[in-house]
């Protein structure tokens, strides 16, 4: 049975600390921006934490929502890429092929979650961060679109290790960087095709809703929150 990777994020546990953002940067060789590029809207955060404020001071409530690529089963970004640089693989991941991307930007325009990022310049890192690169992840050149991959390099390694050791994958063995680093343990990652996995159980619980589900994108990231 093929895997079908999914994720759940518990919004009642999320503290908005953004450890997931930093972990993602470290794991996936994300380029570091500068203050004026950030002002122009050019930063790349494959996972970002959106803040929603309710109420007036002093009764302000803040809600945090980490947003990352939802790996939609009915992804709007897939049919519009003219070179098939983004397509759906058999494990349910929306895959971005860096060396096939010519930079038409159509996928990013069609993504309702705005989770796609473009390499506006050749990536740069201030010293000594360029020594910290992850060798399992490609460095994207200028002109190419990128986004969260559910840490596909970790998925591949996990599958390979299990195959070498001749055993099935255990639930929770593969963890993307964000899931691994969350101090509140708000995130879970696993195989949605396995009914016993933590993610399947959480996704099936009454607290799970997909983001912008009404659009029919069939996202595979489930947000858990107390039902109102």
């Amino acid at each position: 049975m093929e895997h079908r990777w999914g994720m759940s994020i518990d919004l009642d546990r999320c503290t908005g600390c953004e450890a997931c953002v930093v972990a993602c940067h470290a794991e996936n060789n994300l380029p570091v921006s500068s203050p004026d590029q950030a002002e122009k809207g050019r930063t790349a955060h494959w996972i970002r934490v959106d803040r929603y404020y309710e109420g007036e001071f002093p009764d302000v409530k803040v809600k945090y929502r980490p947003v990352l690529c939802q790996q939609c089963d009915n992804a709007p970004c897939e049919p519009v890429c003219p070179t098939y640089a983004t397509y759906h693989n058999t494990e349910g991941l929306n895959v971005q092929v860096y060396n096939r991307c010519v930079g038409t930007f159509y996928c990013a325009n069609n993504c309702p979650y705005t989770v796609r990022f473009f390499n506006w310049f050749a990536p740069e890192w201030p010293e000594p961060l360029q020594l910290q690169h992850n060798p399992d992840v490609a460095i994207r050149p200028a002109g190419v679109m990128e986004k969260c991959t559910f840490c596909v390099q970790r998925i591949q390694r996990g599958k390979r290790d299990a195959a070498v050791e001749n055993r099935p994958l255990a639930d929770g063995e593969i963890q993307p960087a964000c899931v691994q680093s969350c101090p509140a343990e708000a995130m879970a990652f696993g195989d949605l095709n396995d009914p016993e996995s933590k993610v399947s159980k959480l996704a099936g619980s009454g607290r799970a809703t997909p983001l912008l589900g009404e659009l029919g994108t069939k996202p595979k990231v489930f947000y858990l929150e107390r039902a109102k």
């Binding site: 089963d73 992804a75 897939e78 397509y87 759906h88 349910g92 029919g216």
Partner: protein
């Protein structure tokens, strides 16, 4: 033998053509040269054309080929999609339509080049009259027995400057 006669009025030219046809000269042996198109009345110098048919055939061929190509290309990828199908006429319809139109454009242009004679090998010995503005020149290809009769017709029709050119 080529006879070339200049006319200044279309009615006289048409009368001459009808008379020549009555004398047994084929419409294929007659050509009218002018600096602007002459709108003949029906039945005088009709040239049957297959251009519309060629355009339609070219359109169908091109559109069909392109759609088949797209079908093959899209099924070449074993894509997993959770939503839209890999191939459907809704999506490919535009390409089918445009390539159909492209086929008809190219077929029309190509057939025009052929039907007008522009692309065919020219027989250099056949004389081509230099046409002055406002003048319509009728060139008749006829063999010896008909030549005198043709000359008479052209004269009585009111042609000016009837020239004669021998062809080897």
């Amino acid at each position: 033998m080529y006879l070339m006669a200049d006319f200044r009025e279309q009615s006289k030219l048409e009368a001459a053509i009808l008379a020549l046809k009555a004398a047994g000269i084929d419409a294929d042996d007659m050509d009218v040269f002018s600096e602007e198109p002459v709108e003949f009345h029906r039945g005088i110098l009709d040239r049957p054309s297959r251009m519309s048919l060629v355009a339609v055939l070219g359109a169908i061929a091109s559109g069909g080929l392109a759609t088949a190509g797209v079908y093959a290309a899209q099924h070449n990828y074993r894509l997993v999609t959770g939503g839209m199908p890999v191939f459907s006429f809704w999506g490919t319809g535009v390409i089918t339509y445009e390539t159909t139109m492209l086929g008809s454009v190219l077929a029309t242009f190509g057939w025009f080049l052929w039907e007008s004679g522009l692309l065919r090998k020219r027989d250099k010995s056949i004389p081509v009259p230099t046409v002055l503005p406002g003048v319509m020149c009728l060139r008749v290809h006829c063999s010896d027995p008909h030549v005198t009769r043709a000359r008479q017709i052209l004269d009585s029709a009111g042609a000016t400057d009837i020239a004669r050119k021998e062809v080897a």
